[in-house]
């Protein structure tokens, strides 16, 4: 009896507190996913080392030709970043789906787009932000000047969240599909192309003396668009996948 009466009281309390709890739900998902990533460092480090090695293979393979390296550098680093983000994508919803926590999120009284946003931010912090920090260091291998390295990092800072956002839709859509990993790449990589073009283009524009402002603004526009549409698209995709 006592439990139930406490329960009734708490229901009232929740009603009174109203909207305030939504942000708690977002930060709670975020903290939980970061904690899980900390407990499984291997998965996070795999993506990071992948990025490191893939982008180091090119200077090693091509040899000491600074002019050529400078030309392909931005593209190679961006493709490396793209693929590194892809590695962690499939796990974004998959493990939650397997153990049933995703069902609980869908049924939570907090709005699902907010919970989804929490998961996307966690994915970016774990797989996007390290790439942003590492890229300028790796850029040195391609003989990029400090200005270009700065543009590269700035471009990645705006661009990698777009990758996490677009990837979330793909991850949600391929959730229940067998062999979803390969399908996910086929689905998501073409959608990454605009980000790749403007991101790598920003560095190249800077190198050719045109200024990177236009490219970076377009990246910003992509980010704004993705931020607006992705939480809802992902939510819809999740609901379909869960049936």
């Amino acid at each position: 009896m006592s439990i139930a009466t406490q329960g009734e009281g708490a229901i009232g309390a929740v009603r009174r507190s109203g909207e305030g709890f939504s942000m708690t739900a977002l930060t709670s998902v975020l903290r939980r996913d970061l904690l899980l990533a900390m407990r499984r460092k291997a998965e996070v480090l795999t993506a990071l080392f992948f990025f490191l090695i893939v982008s180091s293979l090119f200077p090693l393979g091509i040899g000491p030709e600074p002019a050529l390296l400078r030309k392909i550098g931005p593209g190679v680093l961006w493709v490396g970043a793209l693929l590194a983000t892809m590695l962690g994508l499939q796990r974004m919803f998959y493990s939650d789906h397997l153990d049933g926590t995703l069902e609980q999120m869908v049924l939570s009284s907090a709005p699902l787009p907010l919970l989804v946003m929490g998961k996307i931010i966690a994915h970016w912090l774990v797989s996007g932000l390290p790439v942003v920090i590492l890229a300028p260091i790796l850029g040195l291998q391609f003989d990029l000047d400090p200005g270009a390295l700065w543009i590269l990092a700035l471009g990645l800072l705006i661009g990698t969240p777009v990758l996490s956002l677009i990837g979330a839709v793909g991850a949600a859509l391929t959730l229940g599909v067998r062999g979803g990993g390969a399908l996910l790449s086929l689905l998501v990589l073409p959608l990454y192309i605009p980000t790749l073009i403007f991101g790598a283009g920003a560095v190249q524009a800077h190198l050719s003396g045109q200024g990177a402002g236009g490219h970076l603004s377009l990246l910003g526009a992509l980010l704004a668009l993705a931020l607006f549409f992705v939480p809802w698209a992902t939510t819809a995709a999740l609901r379909i996948s869960l049936e």
Partner: protein
């Protein structure tokens, strides 16, 4: 009437195979219903439809006369599926507090500890759930019944993997919940040690 769950002519199709059709029942406050039937008849599918996780082929589920799925409904619902819904790498305590926060009803550490202790997990709160047995994982999930206020409980096989004492404890919880005006819908292959309720045969 506040807190009335009505299933109206529910039909469920899995692939091309019809599972059940025309299922009709309603449960009001202070009542509970048991969904019965052999394996594969669609008990879990029915519970998922009742919780709003899946859509029926035909028919509809209503809560207080309104179609389910609203935030109001989700706030009053607690659905515990047959999957553990706990994270193996998190401790029992973290699992319980995070799930409470995601439900929008944050709880204090003491509250969570107390709930886990009542489920016989005292001293194991800080162990990653990975190291717990299937029955203990189940208890971590069921500890939510104590921490989360909800009027409608939908429990899929709540007694699997539990020992005799825990079965008694959980059925007492359900009985108390129902006695206090709550609603419970559950499936079980075991005999349920509860005062008689409604039976839905699939």
């Amino acid at each position: 009437m506040p807190g009335m769950l009505t299933a109206h002519r529910l039909t469920c199709v899995r692939g091309t195979r019809p599972l059940f059709s025309g299922v009709e029942f309603s449960v009001g406050p202070g009542n509970w219903a048991q969904i019965r039937g052999p394996n594969g008849v669609g008990k879990t599918s029915l519970l998922r439809i009742l919780a709003g996780l899946a859509q029926p082929e035909e028919g509809e589920v209503r809560w207080n006369g309104e179609k389910i799925g609203s935030e109001e409904f989700r706030r009053e619902l607690m659905y515990l599926g047959h999957r553990a819904a706990v994270k193996d790498d998190l401790t029992a305590l973290e699992n319980l507090t995070f799930s409470a926060e995601m439900d929008g009803v944050p709880i204090a550490r003491e509250q969570a500890e107390d709930a886990l202790a009542r489920f016989g997990l005292a001293g194991r709160e800080d162990l990653p759930v990975r190291f717990l047995s299937a029955g203990q994982k189940r208890r971590v999930l069921l500890a939510r019944t104590v921490t989360r206020p909800a009027r409608l409980w939908i429990l899929d096989e709540p007694f699997t993997a539990l020992d005799v004492k825990a079965v008694d404890f959980v059925s007492n919880l359900v009985a108390d919940h129902v006695k206090a005006g709550g609603i419970a819908v559950l499936t079980s292959h075991q005999a349920i040690p509860l005062p008689p309720g409604q039976v839905v045969d699939l």
